[in-house]
């Protein structure tokens, strides 16, 4: 083994530098924010704690939309040494017309659920983008698409489970596969061509991953029912693929214009957001009135500390750019 020949050097004393990182906090941060010692998941060394993106989509030299995305491992998963089970994905159609986005939340109890989340966000987004080459978003057969994604998760799951002693990968029931890997999923198709300044978006959801429009003035508009409203005691059960939804998912159609944002999120951030009327709703409306400058900033905002909220958090947000 070689030994270094140089002696240690001192940095210059006069160098100027600036900048600092300060965590976002909403109300009482709780003890976990400062007290958790993050541990790696030793069964999945390649899985990243946090991923993020920030970019603009253009038509020629015209900026159409700004996109920010981040997926952050929750404090509970850090504390117990488990992988981030959330994931996101996106892709633009070949003709440049549509942006396809996917946000997924792997079901916590499944040890391989992050693999299901990765599959629906990557493979699913690619497949959906392909369908849009020959189908208008309003004409998409969502039921068929979602069933196709479910089948793909099942196939992939059986492949991953091959050779294991605790389960017969080929013969076991679909429920047994879902027990090992399952994910909620939300797909959105955003029309990048605005009509009178408005971009149409179609959103389809299976499970408790949610879509919101942040309207001008900081008003949060949910694009479907808010979970656990009116339940007697809290239940952690969720709808998740590969188990097929009881009925075909119904797409929600909405429009967004400059000054507004389409915000797609997992329940790790949807739960503290609630109905958007509390302090978290205020905070996110303030910081997302415009697209944050960088992906790092966006991820830091998503990772805000608030007592007892310790789930994985994932958001993909789209801000239309004013053409005036």
């Amino acid at each position: 083994m070689a030994t270094p020949e140089t002696t240690p050097v001192q940095p210059g004393t006069e160098a100027k530098w600036q900048g600092y990182v300060e965590p976002f906090v909403v109300g009482d941060p709780g003890r976990a924010a400062a007290g958790v010692v993050p541990l790696p998941d030793e069964t999945a060394w390649d899985r990243k704690d946090t991923v993020l993106d920030a970019f603009a989509l253009r038509d020629g030299r015209t900026r159409l939309v700004e996109v920010r995305a981040a997926s952050v491992r929750g404090l509970a998963h850090r504390a117990y040494g488990r992988v981030r089970q959330d994931e996101y994905g996106f892709r633009r159609t070949a003709d440049g017309r549509y942006l396809v986005i996917c946000v997924a939340d792997g079901v916590s109890s499944g040890e391989l659920s992050h693999k299901a989340a990765m599959l629906v966000t990557r493979w699913g987004t690619k497949w959906l983008t392909g369908l849009l080459d020959r189908t208008e978003p309003a004409d998409l057969q969502w039921g068929q698409f979602v069933r196709g994604v479910a089948t793909q998760i099942e196939k992939y799951g059986r492949k991953l489970l091959r050779g294991r002693e605790d389960i017969d990968a080929e013969k076991c029931d679909l429920r047994d596969v879902a027990h090992k890997l399952a994910t909620t999923v939300l797909y959105a198709v955003v029309d990048l061509r605005a009509v009178d300044g408005a971009h149409t978006a179609h959103v389809v959801t299976v499970g408790d991953t949610s879509a919101w429009v942040l309207r001008e003035g900081g008003r949060w508009e949910p694009q479907e029912a808010v979970k656990n409203d009116g339940a007697e005691v809290f239940s952690a059960s969720v709808h998740a693929l590969p188990l097929p939804p009881a009925t075909d998912p119904v797409p929600v159609r909405t429009t967004i214009r400059a000054g507004e944002a389409l915000v797609l999120m997992t329940d790790g951030i949807g739960d503290p957001l609630g109905q958007g009327t509390g302090p978290v709703g205020r905070f996110l409306a303030d910081v997302w009135a415009r697209p944050p400058a960088s992906g790092v900033e966006f991820a830091a905002q998503i990772g805000f500390a608030r007592k007892s909220f310790d789930d994985d958090r994932t958001v993909v947000a789209v801000w239309p750019v004013s053409q005036r």
Partner: protein, 236 residues
């Protein structure tokens, strides 16, 4: 009203303070909550979600520590003191009333409340008429926010009576009963029950992080010495 959905896991500890509990048994019972506090101080994820309530019961039942965050600097743990007979009925009625009030308040504050967990620790038989405490127990377990009820018996506690308090007694989420083994020191048994309570709390917290909302009890092989676990059909 807040619109957020923070999750809360409420624990209720019911401790017998009838005359027979005096001495070392009471000393050990008084150590339960300080040990819970120590365990929570080491488990920040759980500490942010768990709330504890302590009720003691003798001739009557009293809330010694109203449901609270025990690491909060404003919460204090009053010592338990001995008070006469063993009224199970009083204990069940006060517990039901507390659960009802607490859950209602927590939900009004916008929390998602997990099903309450109860550790019921007694060293003797109920001194009130059977139909009275059975009726009170029926009312406790017969409403929408019924708790998961874990009876724990030491010394002269009647296994048959306690076994009939396990709730739910059957099904996928059935609870268990913990009993002091013959010939053990009852004070040590109370210390061991505190250990079971804490490991159950930690395991339930971890299972919440893995997406379950159920209460987890320790496996039989993980029980401290001198304590045995039983299900409702172990005593007929």
């Amino acid at each position: 009203m807040e619109s957020e959905k923070a999750k809360i896991l409420p624990f209720y500890v019911l401790i017998d303070v009838s005359a027979s509990m005096s001495g070392r048994k009471l000393d050990e019972a008084n150590q339960i909550m300080p040990q819970v506090v120590d365990a929570l101080a080491q488990a920040p994820i759980l500490a942010d979600k768990v709330r504890f309530c302590v009720i003691d019961f003798g001739s009557d039942a009293q809330v010694r520590l109203p449901l609270c965050d025990v690491l909060d600097e404003h919460s204090s743990l009053p010592p338990l003191t001995i008070r006469g007979a063993t009224s199970y009925a009083a204990a069940f009625r006060v517990l039901r009333s507390e659960i009802e009030i607490n859950v209602k308040q927590l939900k009004a504050d916008g929390y998602l409340v997990h099903r309450p967990a109860v550790f019921f620790i007694s060293d003797g038989e109920p001194t009130d008429p059977e139909h009275e405490w059975r009726t009170a127990f029926g009312e406790l377990t017969g409403f929408a926010t019924y708790p998961n009820f874990v009876p724990c018996g030491v010394d002269q506690a009647n296994p048959k009576v306690l076994a009939s308090l396990i709730h739910p007694a059957t099904g996928p989420k059935q609870m268990q009963m913990y009993l002091m083994e013959q010939g053990q020191n009852p004070a040590d048994a109370i210390a061991a029950i505190a250990e079971i309570l804490i490991s159950s709390m930690l395991a339930s917290g971890q299972s919440m992080a893995q997406g379950s909302s159920g209460m987890i009890l320790p496996a039989k092989q993980d029980l401290p010495a001198g304590i045995s676990a039983h299900s409702s059909d172990d005593f007929v």
